[in-house]
Amino acid sequence: MVWNAFSLALREIRRNVMRSFLTILGIVIGVAAVIIMVTIGGGATVQVTQQIASLGSNLLIITPGKRVLGPVQSGAAPFRIADAEAIGREIASIVAVAPASSRSMTAIVGNENWSTRVTGSENEYLKAGNWSIKAGRQFSASELRAGAAVCIIGATVRGKLFGSQEPVGSKIRLQSLACEVIGLLEAKGQSMMGTDQDDFVLIPLRTFQRRIAGNQDVGVIQVSVEGGVSTDRVGRDIGRLMRERRHLSATEEDDFTVMDLKEITKMFTGTTQVLTALLSAVAAVSLLVGGIGIMNIMLVSVTERTREIGIRLAIGALERDVLLQFLVEAMVLSSLGGLLGIALAIGASLWLADVLRVPFVFNATIVAVAFLFSAAVGVVFGFFPAQKAARLDPIEALRHE
């Protein structure tokens, strides 16, 4: 009986292709919108998490100056290499400590020039930032100690300055400093702020201080904490050590900032999730509107087919049979809308993921939920019209023209 009602429903839909399509459009859009929101939102969350991981999980970034929602306050004393050495010496559960300074500069190779970021640091910088060497090698101890004119370049710099040529062994000119490329890094892609992480040249910190900055300053200290250890606790330990080294009294505020990337990750994913939930709720409303559309067209259909219903009732259909027929029809309609919506959503999500450069994360649960919900919309909004059909008086219905 259900099977029969099912095939009747399909036949009825095939007879009114255009009308059926317009009827289910609301459901199609609603289902598609919900799935797209959740898929892209999920992709964004995954992307942020991946980027944080690529930055180095459990990374603490210590900068001079108090950061209060905005740019670094000026006036605070910069760090020294000794600060980084002290952290490495006195703080427990640390994998790597990398003091670093950066500056924007133009790098030149032959006729090619490229404006990039030059960072002076040590091999620890690669460890803290989860960088791996693709070709060549890291700095040697003597190069670091002597401040040699050598550099390791990111994938973007290589692409801009060397094209497809082999960079290792060539020379790059950074203002007056001509340094030899000794290593090439694996590409990491965009950061969560949208900046290109691979666009930098790494040179030994001493080289940077002597040949470029002309001072002993350290702009930032990156600390990588052991896995499984609370970055929060290590951050507080570092804070205490820095206050001590910078001779701050109990009443003075910190004149430096310890940033915990885990906190930032949480903030980002939290925002994404709230946004996703909000947009999905809006999309769900369109599912509801779609349901009303189905109810409307089912009522029209019942009126149009009054005579047919009369015939069916006269030749042996029970109220229940007619109810089932129209209920199944509404459900098939809305489920069809659900299926189309899913197809549309997957297509649109793939395209959007590509355009927005977020990973496509197929969420089977939301697809299943959206489909079941669309079917349920059919049952709920199909019930009233179906009941109306089932309760028709066969005599009246047969007389209906």
């Binding site: 006269a314 030749i315 042996g316 259909a317």
Partner: protein, 242 residues
């Protein structure tokens, strides 16, 4: 009053109306469609119901067909008081014992002849293979072998009515109700339909109750009941039609 044979033999008639009235509306606007009908029909009869429009014959047919219930009086079908049944029970009664043929054929459009005939079997939960078989047989009985796949639009009026008859008899009903079955057909087609109904009545023993206002068609019936102003005016067995 006509005493039927079964009454004398103490056998219950198939259909028995006693003092049936039907009133539509209430108070001053009340319309008395039936004003006390007594009618018995035995199994195997072929009854023609005649009368001018507004005489109550259609109302009476609706009540006999269990589509409607009397305002007062009793209607017994196979001894069961139909007035006391629920809507669902009446629908089941229609499903198991009654077949309907209408003036306007009332086939489902864009649906093949075979599917139309199968329809009552679907509601009786007859499995598909048996359903096809029975529907084919019924179409063969009404002389439409080979027309199974034609839809309403591809069939003539006479053929459509044959499909409707096949649909009514495919369930082997106790009674076949025909409401002006020849009303939309020319004389030649009408005669064919009447011959078919007569054959079904005689060959398969199906009780036929037919409303008509054409005397020629009524002449095929063994018994003619005439309605006038909501009452049975005459009720008589006529000579065997030649």
């Amino acid at each position: 009053m006509n005493e039927s044979v079964s009454d004398l033999a103490g056998i219950q008639p198939l259909i028995e109306l006693r003092g049936v009235t039907k009133v539509y509306g209430t108070g001053g606007a009340a319309m008395h469609a039936l004003r006390g009908i007594d009618l018995s029909i035995d199994e195997g009869e072929f009854v023609a119901v005649m009368g001018p429009s507004g005489s109550g014959k259609s109302t009476c047919m609706n009540i006999l067909g269990c589509l409607d219930t009397p305002t007062a009086g009793t209607y017994r079908f196979k001894g069961v008081q139909v007035g006391k049944l629920t809507g669902r029970q009446r629908a089941l009664l229609r499903r198991h014992y009654l077949g309907f043929v209408f003036q306007g054929y009332n086939l489902l459009n864009r649906t093949s002849a075979l599917e139309n005939v199968e329809l009552p079997l679907i509601y009786r939960r007859v499995p598909a293979s048996r359903r096809h078989e029975q529907a084919r047989q019924a179409l063969e009985v009404v002389g439409l072998k080979g027309w199974e796949d034609h839809t309403q639009g591809e069939l003539s009026g006479g053929q459509q009515q044959r499909v409707a008859i096949a649909r009514a008899i495919v369930t082997r009903p106790a009674v076949l109700f025909a409401d002006e079955p020849t009303g939309n057909l020319d004389t030649a087609r009408s005669r064919e339909i009447m011959e078919l109904l007569t054959a079904l009545n005689r060959g398969q023993g199906i009780t036929v109750v037919m409303v008509t206002h054409e005397a020629e068609m009524a002449a095929y019936a063994k018994r003619i009941v005439r309605f006038l102003d909501g009452r049975v005016e005459t009720d008589g067995v006529q000579k065997e039609a030649a």
